[in-house]
């Protein structure tokens, strides 16, 4: 029982953990603490434990599976859509014409076509996919923490003294609209980078102050603080002040260290690489994701949203929002290029064992095309009142893709029926999706429990098993 070991080793439940200071070490004597630290720094063979990492690329709103990874060329026109199918590097595997670059490297990732969850709304759908909440109705706030904060929490607990000055969990325009830490608390939320990294004026606040005067001044202030910060440490049995000291030096390092600044600095990449990802927000977001993970960030999420999606800024291609086919055409080239570059780069730089890349959204879109009047003109949407085609929410079947992480690539997992409405083989649930991610991160999903606000041990995944084709 991994869970029990974990809790008995730490001698603290989550409430102690929160109330008694970082790591819950109030309840641990110093020798116990040191033992714990040495126990977790290495595995039984004495080898330092490798920290697996993940990049999740999120398509908020839900991407049409039929028009991308799961084409249905033989379906009738009410379903099929206008895009032709193309062959890929993997014999027998076809995509639509929107993804020529990914088709050319289809041997470097695996397509899962039989993803299925049960919530038809964006909030509940996102909660199912990211926090494993089985609820099908929408609610304003998540009940369970998402896998990102769970991972951050578990790893922070296992390794309270992180040597790498970079935050463990970074979100670049992250998908946080419907998810979050729930009962784990905001301290496990991501370090968030927002904005368009392809913008020449782009900068990350709180990272590597660029003004040398400012850096010097911070140094002076920090020295002065050190001299004046005389509150007796003797009372600090709970280790809170120690934890605070550590966060303070980490903060100073983030603010002033050239190394952390560099990790976020895309100008350090050569022009060819930057061009390869695409000189646009999505391309540069994915490049930054790769760069940060390479520098030691362990959990990285990024949403492909905003103006590059079209008028409403996401993939929610109802006819009222977008002309679904115009919208997919509008964004596909940039999407295809960025994702292809990321996957190729992961392999070329030897990150393919350590880093898992997964590209998904909360659901697919209705196989049957619907027509409604547009509610406004803009990119990928005709003038208000113009009848245009759209597709609605479809959690019953959709696709996502997986690369790196040491998995076998060039596979297709599962299949949907002839209209793309339901999986006909190897149906995978949101729980399976999460268990697969946790497996890669070294977390046993079905035996790990975290106490909620009421102290009730809550499984991090209620139902679900790692998808065996996707684990190394």
């Amino acid at each position: 029982m991994k869970h029990d070991d974990r809790f008995s080793v730490l001698g603290a439940n989550r409430r102690n953990f929160l109330t008694m200071g970082l790591g819950g070490f109030a309840t641990l004597s110093l020798p116990g603490l040191l033992r714990l630290q040495s126990a977790i720094a290495s595995d039984p063979t004495g080898k330092p434990r490798e920290r697996k990492s993940i990049i999740m690329v999120w398509k908020p709103g839900g991407c049409s599976h039929i028009d991308t990874y799961d084409p249905k060329p033989d379906a009738t026109t009410e379903y099929r859509g206008p895009f032709s199918t193309i062959a890929t590097k993997v014999p027998g595997l076809q995509f639509t014409e929107l993804l020529p670059r990914q088709a050319a490297i289809a041997d470097k990732f695996t397509v899962l076509r039989s993803m299925r969850q049960t919530a038809p709304g964006h909030p509940a759908g996102s909660m199912q996919m990211l926090s494993g909440d089985p609820e099908t109705r929408d609610k304003p706030k998540p009940k369970y923490p998402d896998w990102m904060t769970v991972t951050n929490y578990l790893r922070s607990r296992d390794e309270p003294q992180r040597e790498n000055p970079l935050p463990r969990y970074v979100g670049i325009n992250p998908p946080l609209e419907y998810n979050g830490p729930a009962y784990l608390g905001d301290m496990y939320s991501p370090f968030t980078v927002s904005g368009d990294p392809s913008n020449p004026n782009f900068s990350v606040p709180n990272i590597g102050l660029s003004d040398t005067n400012e850096v010097q001044r911070l140094g002076r202030r920090s020295d002065l603080r050190q001299k004046l910060d005389t509150l007796t440490r003797a009372f600090d049995r709970a280790g809170e002040l120690g934890a605070l000291d550590q966060f303070e030096s980490q903060a100073i390092s983030l603010l002033t260290s050239p190394k952390t600044k560099e990790a976020f600095d895309l100008t350090k990449e050569d022009d060819r690489t930057r061009d390869r990802y695409g000189r646009n927000a999505w391309g540069q977001q994915l490049l930054m994701a790769r760069r940060l993970v390479e520098a030691g960030v362990e959990i990285l999420t990024t949403s492909l949203s905003g103006p590059l999606c079209g008028r409403v800024g996401n993939w929610d291609d109802h006819a009222v929002n977008h002309h679904v086919f115009d919208a997919l055409r509008f964004r596909s080239e940039i999407y295809d290029q960025a994702v292809t570059a990321l996957i190729e780069d992961i392999y070329e730089r030897g990150l393919d064992q350590r880093v898992l890349v997964v590209v998904t959204g909360e659901f697919g879109r209705t196989p049957k095309i619907e027509y409604s009047p547009s509610t406004g003109a803009g990119n990928a949407s005709a003038a208000a009142g113009t009848i245009q085609p759209g597709r609605d929410h479809w959690p019953r079947a959709f696709s996502n893709i997986w690369a790196g992480g040491g998995i076998r690539t060039g596979q297709v997992i599962g299949a949907t029926d002839k209209r793309g409405e339901d999986p006909i083989e190897r149906t995978c649930s949101a729980g399976d999706f999460l268990a697969t991610i946790y497996h890669h991160l070294g977390i046993e999903a079905h035996t790990t429990f975290i106490k909620d606000f009421n102290g009730r041990p809550t499984p991090i995944v209620d139902q679900g098993r790692p998808i065996k084709e996707l684990i190394s």
Partner: protein, 757 residues
């Protein structure tokens, strides 16, 4: 009151020690080969094996029916479901014998039963090896299967209680104590079930316990308890661990709090720290009672005051202030979920907040306040406590919140299964829900708001498992029949406010104790149960009695706590009390909460944070709901709750990288320090000497004078000359301003500022 199903043996400590000796002697002479409850019994083969009294306890001890394994909700691990800790024997019988196409047990070849093949690891088992095929336990299960795997839920002798021997002890640091668990049955028979009982320490830094019930004490003095569970019965062993130190002298006791704290410390050999100085006291009590730093004027006049009662006077002034009401309204409205989900909630949230604040300001008796809330009817605007029913709609959530918040009892578990550490069953849960079964709702013209009324009819809720209708009953107490035309919630409020109620006063005094002393006498503060005893039960009982006798007077409760010498002890430890974290031998420092810290930064920097829709100058501790967290990254990053949970643990009091970054470099903080009307600017313009400037800064931030070294360091820094980009000295006035800002920065980033100590 229903009596607690726990028999307690009274024995002398002498006897305990003797029995320990005897036990170890016996164990040694038998080479510990048995030590075994089963050894003394007739061979299992000779008599019928009881599923209820023999087989299920084995599965429980082996961990099979833990919540994380086969008792996991929704089907159990890998589709094999057992009831949690064997609470539902008949369901277990069905799962074991009838389900799985009968393949889990094999009568003809018991050894080939999947249950045993899995449990012994002979076929792959996700849960690992749980049972040794050479063990007596294994043989018991085999025999039960061989006898036809009979269900004996009706006929089995009923377990009445478990006794823990010894049930308490005084143990020296590093000592060990073997516990025995004795099951007592309805027919008077007894059985040693030590091998099958579950043991759990409530504080593993102080004592650990192994599977066989041997307690190993560590080297921290204090009290620790071991919870012992066997088949739905819970027993507790309590150990006092004194240190070998005789305390000669305790400070003067000011009231019964001190008497009871000091007598406990005396027993444990823990001396207190010194009484704290006046300046630290004023800062501490202002932060804890009114959620703010003392002003420089308050500090100066307090220090200059020579009257003996000046600390008590200061407490009275704080209790009479509006800030007291602000601060505690902030605390209560968070737990009462005054939450803005929609912009239209603003009116009802403001009304509810005002009702709470006004009640606290007027010092409305606590029982009356709770009654007004519980039994609220009408609309929010006519009767603001109705807003609670807007936030908490489901009767199940209503009972859960009421139980946790006002009774300190967590009933959530009992919705779906018997509470794993408590006597609460599902019947208890639904009987409590029944008080809320007649809450009527009618939509009003305001979106999202219902009118709340009493719906005539006989109150009752069906137990979701048995389908049986449960009539209102409060945690084991039956209340008189409630006629259809009477609102059952009033009956619940009567029951709570009864002076003999064992939960209501205890829960709030413990909650307030924690507010002022950082750790509850029972911890967590809202998890009161027999198996989680108070660190100082006499003190808790005395506080309860005082609170009830005062007429549920909250200000009197605060006064009692903060007037005590115990509250006024220094946080600086001595060698004998440094390890003490639960007996209150010194003040335990605590980081300022988000709202208090933001106000403190503003007061110190002489700036203001503006919040939408509120008058300029509204302080962060006076914010009516959670919506302001969105506008203020400061509040969010320092953990102001979103008013989602009835548990105060939703508020985050720990530190984080984001907090450090925020205080060091966030725009809102930077602009406060550099404000053109702020402290740095006003000091730069003033005709004060550098020494006076530093003294003002220390008084307003730390409520004290700087030490000579601090003064020298700070004055030296202020005198440093700054240079521009080309290395030339800048204007001295500008230089001073920059240096002052740097000093303010260093102060707000220091631990002394961040902590109440």
């Amino acid at each position: 009151m229903r009596s607690i199903r726990l028999l307690i043996l009274s024995r002398t400590h002498f006897f305990l020690d003797a029995s320990l000796l005897l036990a170890s002697f016996l164990c040694a002479s038998l080479a510990c080969s048995l030590g075994d409850a089963f050894a003394s019994e007739p061979d299992a083969a000779a008599r019928p094996v009881s599923m209820v009294n023999e087989v299920l306890p084995i599965l429980t001890k082996a961990g099979c029916n833990a919540g994380t394994c086969h008792a996991k909700a929704s089907n159990g691990q890998n589709g094999f479901q057992l009831s949690l800790l064997g609470f539902e024997p008949f369901e277990d019988y069905q799962h074991l014998v009838l389900e799985g196409r009968g393949r889990r047990l094999s009568n003809t070849a018991p050894e080939q039963s999947l249950l045993l093949l899995k449990a012994t690891g002979q076929v792959p088992h996700g849960g690992g090896v749980r049972l040794d095929p050479n063990s007596e336990q294994y043989r018991v299960i085999i025999e039960w299967i061989r006898q036809g795997a009979q269900y004996d839920g009706q006929s089995a002798t009923k377990l009445r209680s478990i006794e823990i021997q010894p049930f308490e002890a005084i143990l020296a640091p590093s000592a060990q104590q073997r516990l025995k668990a004795i099951a007592v049955y309805d027919d008077g028979s007894q059985k040693d079930v030590t091998k099958l009982a579950l043991f759990e320490s409530n504080e593993s830094s102080m004592a650990t316990v192994d599977e066989a019930g041997t307690v190993s004490v560590q080297d921290i003095p204090g009290s620790v308890s071991i919870m012992v569970r066997y088949q739905g019965m819970v027993g507790v062993f309590r150990a006092s661990i004194p240190q070998a130190f005789v305390v000669e002298r305790f400070p003067e006791a000011k009231n019964f709090v001190d008497e009871l704290v000091f007598s406990n410390l005396k027993k444990l050999g823990i001396p207190t720290s010194e009484l704290t100085d006046d300046a630290t006291f004023l800062r501490r009590v202002s932060l804890d009672v009114a959620g703010r730093l003392p002003t420089e004027q308050e500090l100066a006049s307090f220090l200059a005051n020579t009257s003996a009662g000046k600390r008590d006077d200061a407490i009275e002034q704080l209790l009479a202030s509006g800030e007291y009401a602000d601060f505690f309204a902030n605390k209560w409205t968070a737990m009462l979920k005054n939450r803005r989900d929609d912009a239209s909630d603003i009116t009802s949230n403001f009304a509810f907040y005002s009702w709470v604040r006004d009640s606290l300001l007027a010092n409305k008796p606590y029982d009356q306040m709770v009654r007004e809330l519980l039994a609220a009817t009408g609309t929010v605007l006519s009767n603001p406590p109705v807003a609670w029913y807007k936030r908490v709609k489901d009767p199940k959530n209503q009972l859960e919140d009421v139980a946790q918040l006002f009774l300190g009892v967590r009933m959530q578990c009992a919705q779906c299964h018997h509470h794993p550490f408590e006597r609460w069953s599902q019947d208890d849960y639904y009987s409590l829900a029944a008080f809320f079964s007649q809450v009527g709702r009618k939509p009003t013209s305001t979106r999202g708001e219902d009118m709340i009324f009493h719906k005539r009819g006989l109150a009752g809720v069906a137990n979701a498992k048995t389908g049986q209708m449960r009539r209102p009953a409060a945690l084991g107490d039956t209340v008189q029949e409630i006629p259809p035309d009477q609102d059952p919630r009033l009956k619940l409020a009567d029951w709570m406010a009864d002076s003999k109620n064992p939960f209501f006063a205890k829960a709030v005094v413990n909650r307030y104790w924690k507010h002022f002393f950082r750790r509850g006498l029972i911890e967590p503060e809202d998890d009161i149960r027999d198996s989680n005893p108070a660190s100082n039960p006499e003190l808790l009982a005395a506080l309860e009695a005082r609170f009830i006798a005062s007429g549920f007077d909250l200000k009197d409760l605060v006064r009692t706590l903060v007037r005590s010498t115990t509250y006024q002890l220094s946080s600086v430890p001595n060698p004998q009390n440094i390890t003490d974290l639960q007996n209150f031998s010194r003040y335990y420092p605590r980081r300022l909460s988000a709202e208090v810290l933001l106000d403190a930064v503003d007061d110190f920097a002489m700036t203001r944070t503006d919040f939408p829709n509120l008058p300029p100058g509204t302080r962060a501790i006076a914010l009516p709901d959670n919506s302001y967290n969105n506008a203020s990254p400061f509040l969010k990053v320092f953990g102001r709750p979103e008013n989602e949970s009835v548990c105060e643990c939703e508020r985050i009091q720990t530190s984080s990288l984001a907090q450090s970054l925020h205080l060091m470099n966030a725009n809102d903080v930077k602009s406060k320090l550099a404000s053109g009307t702020g402290r740095a600017e006003s000091l730069a313009k003033s005709d004060k000497t550098p020494e006076q400037r530093v003294e003002e800064i220390y008084a307003s931030a730390f409520s004290r004078k700087p030490t000579p070294e601090e003064l020298a360091t700070a004055v030296g820094y202020l005198a440093e000359v700054r240079v521009d980009a080309s290395g030339n000295p800048i204007d001295p006035g500008k230089s001073m301003r920059e240096n002052l800002q740097d000093l303010l920065w260093a102060i707000i980033n220091s631990k002394e500022f961040l902590f109440n100590h």
